[in-house]
Amino acid sequence: MHPANSVILFNTFSGLGFGLLFWLGMGVIVPTGTSAFIWFAIAYLFAVGGLIASTFHLGHPERAIKAFSQWKTSWLSREGVCAVFALIVMAIYGAGLVFAGARLGITGFIGAIASLGVVFTTSMIYTQMKTVPRWRHWTTPAMYLMLSLGGGALLAGQIKIAAVLLIAGGILQMFAWGSGDTRFKASGTTMESATGLGHIGTVRAFEPPHTGTNYLMREFIHQVGRKHVEKLRIITIGLAFLLPVVLLILPFSHVFAALAVVSHIAGVLTLRWLFFAQAEHVVGLYYGKR
């Protein structure tokens, strides 16, 4: 799959932003006044910034409002509805803390759950794709939630929670990669089933339908990611999980905390790039490629 920058930025930063909103809503930290304003500004900058970035890959972003209509069947629509709901509820909770110094416990709790809901609905956009066997697995939503919770805790300065979640996230990610490597084959979709010619013999793509490239090949066939997959996986584990945990365990300093956040963000950006670049869409079989 083509790793679109806008979608990678959205997945990374909105995940962190909604993760931070979750911990704020749960009352793990209860800032008031100006400090609350700064906390919520950071969370909204990440969450909303990511959402805005995600519209950059649309052909017609000016019609985005229509995307709220089909929540009955479409995970993308559900994500949009969930995001608006979470942002409004958390704004009310945040306003209470900033302007009145009052904690509206229930509102925060609902906003926290809705924030996780946004992350979950996002993950289901990918998980539902039967055409991309690597994504169609419980590890996809589990990993999205784990990263959001872990990254959110890291941003919220919750050292113990963050360390535990990041270690668990790293292990889960390695399992997701390992099991994901076998899923395309296990899906049973092959050049033979794609063409229905398997009963005659072995099928080979002889000539593509065109001399140049096309939308399908640009969008679905991406081989560079898989070429360097081992190195990128090591970089991801190191930056997203290992280094932040080491920095958190060291005696606390603001420099180390900031470095842990920067390292985690760089790692998650790599992880998300790999999430797309590595994923193989079955349509590639018609081109004899994956």
Binding site: F68, K130, G188, T195, V203, A205
Partner: protein, 253 residues
């Protein structure tokens, strides 16, 4: 509405004969010609005369080589367009309701004025039947020439999809696959028509007819024994010539 409608009794679709298709791409050209100037946004090209040409097509012809365990390889031309699936995953993923399946005849269409160009329907389609137009930013797909098949301004013989109308080999057939007595349904039954990627669970309406088995050609040429090729056993004059030439400097070993 991106909820799939109840199954329609009428299932308009194509039957493509892989035995007959000669790979001329006439269907590709006529499809592009009709659909770029009729229903919806035109099918744009980028750098059509440049170094890296690319464009939107609703129908493309692949060519595959199939190697049986014994005997010669076969070359099979393989036209591919939207299969108007009964369980169309491209419809249900659409967040805006732009992508829909018609109740009256099962044709899958895109309402372009509602399309935000997110590309999710193309992700959901295992067949690569949908292409996002680079100029218009909306999703394009086969309409089964919905603006031809019901068009009473056209002579009756033209009221079929442009690809079917143009195919010089008669490899493409159009009809109602929901009616088991229709010509297309009978053709499918007779020839063992099959679905592409049945394991994806999309229940495509379009069917493909398999290539017929190749004839086995027996050794039949009565003159063959008298036209043995050059002796390979190295006897006689040819054998001497072979050895003599090989012995010369630069000779073949």
């Amino acid at each position: 509405m991106t909820q799939l409608p109840p199954l329609s009794a009428k299932k308009l679709g194509l039957v493509i004969d892989l035995d007959t298709c000669v790979g001329c791409h006439a269907c590709v050209v006529s499809c592009k010609g009709w659909n770029t100037e009729n229903y919806g946004a035109p099918l744009s090209d980028q750098q059509a005369y440049g170094a890296n040409p690319s464009g939107t097509f609703l129908n493309r012809v692949h060519s595959f080589e199939v190697q049986p365990e014994q005997g010669e390889a076969q070359l099979i031309h393989f036209p591919k367009s939207c299969l108007h699936c009964e369980d169309a995953p491209c419809v249900t993923v659409c967040p805006t309701g732009a992508s829909y399946k018609r109740t009256e005849d099962g044709i899958v269409l895109v309402n372009e004025s509602d399309c935000i160009g997110c590309g999710l329907c193309a992700w959901a389609c295992p067949y690569g039947a949908r292409e996002l137009d680079a100029k218009e930013g909306v999703m394009k797909k086969c309409t089964l020439c919905v603006d031809r098949i019901y068009n009473e301004n056209l002579p009756e013989e033209d009221r079929q999809p442009a690809c079917v109308r143009t195919c010089p080999a008669g490899a493409r057939h159009f009809g109602d696959l929901g009616d088991e007595n229709s010509d297309v349904s009978q053709l499918v039954a007779e020839r063992g028509g099959f679905d592409l990627m049945p394991e994806q669970g999309t229940k495509p309406v379009n069917k493909y007819l398999p290539p017929r088995p190749k004839d086995e050609m027996p050794e039949f040429d009565v003159l063959a024994p008298y036209l043995e090729p050059v002796a390979q056993d190295g006897k006689g004059f040819v054998g001497w010539l072979d050895k003599a030439l090989s012995a010369m400097p630069g000779g073949a070993k």
